[in-house]
Assembly symmetry: C2
Homo-oligomer: 209 residues x 2
């Protein structure tokens, strides 16, 4: 099938939403935990998460336009801290359910446990094995559609010792971290290979299979 830009613009809205949200490929998916200035916690799933830099260690999250109430974005802009918590199959249904428009904290509504580090205000998700605590450093506004790229620097990185390799590589698959596609599909992974650094005219070797 071939869709041109003109055809895409005339597609049924829901069809287009599913099509365009899935065509970027598999995504990171994680729970972002925040707390309002009044002390109400919030947790919700996000899949537009990207590596921004290793030194300083920074991560970006793209948020939809701030035209309606978006608790996660508001809490980050107000309190400047937030957490990113990886998702595993053990609590996947709870994760997807946090996306609903709950009146109370999604931690309570969806039976997820809050966890705190001393001196860091934002809630981590106890169920998660890999967790990151971030501090807001930059906000970029996309002119074309009003979305916001929120960039944070890593203040805390927590991972089970057995999944962190000697070279620093975190074996996400061994940790059970999931990936997502489209708006509502979640997947486990199966490693094909880790390759050595690519050089011209040198055959690739596999580090892991």
């Amino acid at each position: 099938m071939h869709f041109s830009d003109q055809q895409i613009s005339t597609l049924d809205k829901s069809f287009r939403r599913n099509l365009i949200n899935s065509v970027t490929g598999f995504k990171s998916v994680a729970l972002i935990g925040t707390k309002s200035q009044e002390g109400t916690t919030n947790v919700a799933p996000f899949s537009q998460i990207i590596h921004v830099g290793a030194d300083p260690a920074m991560i970006g999250v793209l948020f939809r336009p701030h035209t309606v109430k978006r608790h996660t974005l508001e809490n980050i802009l107000t309190t400047k801290v937030y957490t990113i918590n990886h998702i595993t199959a053990e609590f996947l249904a709870e994760v997807h359910h946090t996306a609903a428009r709950w009146q109370q904290s999604e931690f309570e509504a969806c039976k997820l446990q809050e966890e705190y580090l001393e001196g860091f205000e934002a809630p981590f998700v106890r169920n998660a094995k890999i967790k990151i605590g971030l501090s807001l450093v930059e906000r970029l506004d996309v002119q074309s559609n009003g979305t916001h790229l929120i960039i944070g620097v890593i203040k805390h990185l927590i991972a089970p010792e057995e999944v962190v390799g000697k070279d620093g590589f975190i074996d996400l698959e061994a940790a059970g971290t999931l990936t997502s596609s489209g708006l509502d599909s979640y997947h486990k992974t199966k490693r094909l290979a880790r390759f050595t650094y690519a050089k011209p005219n040198v055959s690739l070797k596999k580090l892991l299979e």
Copy 2:
């Protein structure tokens, strides 16, 4: 294991690079195809790819600082067009090898075939099943570390008919699209579930298993 920001800043450089590149979770990974003004084609793997919006249909790619020669970024800024091509296991070794510093076009060096659409200058990768042709619409410069978010609008979207669902959802798993983690690890996927839209106090149903 718990790494604080201070510990992260004193880690061995290569260890930190692997650690921070893997902690964001599984990523999209795709080949970006471009052509220079002089007509030399270029193709290279990128994994910082995010959905920006469905209407207009826009995708973002984060590029490292433009302090050394970066052919893909230069070609996009000059010619304003580029392609994103999904990766499958059938040509994974060729994909990873395109990341090396080749003197000639990586298409030729890595035995990948170019493919063109009439009226669209950037090369698609024939080996890919899902391919996107984009036109540059916006460039955002990250002040914190000099990276660049390049946003393009989808001009062409190509996918096999059998993987595009009636609701627009593209079954990436059926198409054999891979995901990546860290700098050098590639993975197949196995669907756990597609869920219905999340509502408060309503049990989730699975659309697909």
